[in-house]
Amino acid sequence: MSDLPGDLLYTTEHEWLRREDDGSVTVGITDHAQAALGDLVYVELPEIDQDVDSGGDMAVVESVKAASDVYAPIDGRVVAVNEELADDPEKINAEPYGDGWIVRLQPTSDIDESELMTPDAYQALLDEEDA
């Protein structure tokens, strides 16, 4: 059973988003995703000010057994990256929804929430994958 904070939105790519007060959006991977990847050894981060399109890859998380792309869940511009992951990628394993955040985006178009999932909908996806 993986942990799913109720104040976040989720994607089918096992990422989470938090809408911040300043209008930006913080993105990370879910507890389920970090558990599936295993111990992370490296995170490749995008450049600040880089423009990303919804669905395009923007970062890479690499574990001892796999490497996986992190996709942009919305259209946006990269306004911050979690530099601490360079030295300590296992923060993602330890706190996927906290210190393990990956990228902060400033949306460049309206966010279509129908493309995203509520905690319940994401839980349903996980249950389906387990079944």
Binding site: E47, E62, A67, D69
Partner: protein, 454 residues
Amino acid sequence: MPFIPHTEDDTREMLDAIGVQSINDLFDEIPKKLLAKTMGDVPEGLNEMQITRLMQKRAARDGAPLCFIGAGAYEHHIPQAAWDIATRGEFYSAYTPYQAEASQGTLQTIYEYQTMITALTGLDVSNASLYDGASALAEAALMAVRSNRKVKSNRILLAPGVNPTYEKVAATIAGTQGLSFERLPMDAKTGNSAATLADPGDVVAVVIQQPSFFGTLEDVARLTNWAHEHGAMVIGVVNPTALALLQGPGQWGELGAEIACGEGQPLGVPLSSGGPYFGFMTCRQKHVRQMPGRIVGRTTDLDGQQGYALTLQAREQHIRRSKATSNICTNQGLMVTAATIYMSLLGAEGLAQVARASHQNTTRLVNGLCSLDGVERLFDGPYFHEVALRLDRPVAPVLAALAERGILGGFDLRNVSSGDALLVCATETKTESDIDAYVNALGEIMATEGRRSA
């Protein structure tokens, strides 16, 4: 490992399974005009005795000429032990040792190879090798684009001394991925890059070959610093024999090159009419995740014993699929085994002796040739073991006349440089009498034939 050919039934069954009529149908996407219709000199099946006789007859046609051609591949003495050991059953495979528990010897050999190549190039990490020098440059260019993400362009600048064949191969492989290759201007006197260079704009990397294709020594410190000042990375294309005497790319200029690559053939691999050879590549630790190819690492097992295993495999095709650093996912394991044994047998001092003897022989050759009327150096300045010469007449007939006398006199620069020019090389394999024979032969030819009227 036994070689087990498929029976006709096996082949039929496989073709049926994928719904294809014949093996040739698998090659349908190759345009018809590119297919070789006939293979004139390749006969239909012959028995062993017939094929041995045919191949001996054809080999004899080559004779045993004295070779003064370099231009990217170099004839060096290879101690007998190198290939005696490399072709032992335990080593005799080109395959990647994925199974660490069954491949410690092979993995250790590759690890030793990586250690030696990093020492020669003055950089931190080496991969387990690539196909050849030319494709290694293509991979280095692609790697630079992945690494130097601050630069938004895909432009790569090449110093004038970069092997023109390497440029063609790099443009073929990397051109389809949007990279463009441009040449820096040449100083006509030295053959190296021009003394003053304009602001290049957005450039991902500058490629510097040392020694240059023309054998000259580029001012690598100046070019490296210039590249770094303009935000470009530096890729050094180097000759491993020369590195026994010259600075490794990691030491060029104030910061050093970030990536080095080149042709590994001079390290114990015979000329063999052009291959198989191997490419080498090293880089700074910082860029290791963008480096293509396999890497062997040293580790300890559960009992604390030293062991070797492939490492950082998440970069590779079997894990990252289309996002892999490269989809040319092989190494030249057997060539690298021979190279590792070659370097071990020679040691650092032995390799330096090979380099010095090659330089001295080339000096003797060039002094002799330039004493002839109608022969002069094309460029001024120091050189390693190869020199470009200007002739007062077309080069091809001169080379043909030399070949008739059993001398392969060099590489015709007709398609590379303007005018009639020839690239010559004398490695440590040449004796004084070999060199004198070349000088005398060319003297006779120049005295009798085909001067271009002024």
